[in-house]
């Protein structure tokens, strides 16, 4: 019995929703970042499933690009978090209202 691609897309939807919930619920910016990774990963899974359905390698090429962007994003984001921590010695997103008017 083969697995229909829609099951993979459904799993990806569930993982994405869990990632969204994680970003909203948690106060630790590192965990929020990991939840964002979770969402990117869910999108990748959907890409691979769609590519499998269509039957060419374009979906996998897109996943490759998403991985590169995720790596760059994580490096920059973690550097920003470390810099903020150096400035304030605390790490709660509720304190970070610097750019809000």
């Amino acid at each position: 019995m083969t697995v229909p691609e829609s099951w993979y897309v459904a799993l990806s939807a569930v993982l994405f929703a869990i990632g969204v919930t994680g970003v909203v619920v948690r106060r630790n910016p590192l965990v929020m970042f990991m939840s964002i990774e979770l969402m990117l990963n869910a999108a990748n899974l959907a890409f691979v499933a769609f590519g499998h359905r269509i039957g060419n390698a374009d979906g996998q090429a897109l996943v490759f690009f998403v991985m590169a962007v995720a790596a760059a994003e994580v490096a920059v984001g973690l550097a920003i978090i470390v810099t903020i921590f150096r400035l304030r010695r605390r790490l709660s997103v509720d304190d970070l209202s610097l750019m809000r008017w």
Binding site: A17, V20, Q60, V74, V76, L78
Partner: protein
Amino acid sequence: MARLAFFVIATLAVGSALGLVLKRNAIHGALFLVVNLGAVAALYLTLGAEFLAAAQVIVYAGAIMVLFVFAIMVLIPGKEETGPDPRRGWRLLALPAGALLAFQLLLVVRGLAAPAGPGVPAVPGGVEAIARVLFTRYLFPFELTSVLLLAAMVGVLLLARRRA
């Protein structure tokens, strides 16, 4: 058999994702995320994307998660989510909102659902097929990726520099 494998891996993925969101300790969350990434890599294998499964393990579980664990250890884990939550009610509201989002997405997927076509050709998941696409149709984005990574690297060095 394939469906059983899918269910086992999917349960693992969803369980570890929930662990990431619900566990208080950030290090535990990072380890749960590693499990989740490994499970998704296994799903890539079942979809015939061997290169992506390897890249997932190397890039995500290897490089990115090591960076996360480093950051968590530098930033003193467990110190940031202590004390009462000033906005507890709003945060708890996020749980039904997330469940609603999942429900809606699943409705969309269900609307799109079609039985797996019998004649769907298997994707050539090896390096060869991806390389052919990457270096012909997506050559320009591929080169741009290197610029992006370079820019990210320079930016990180600038941000992490210790100011005198």
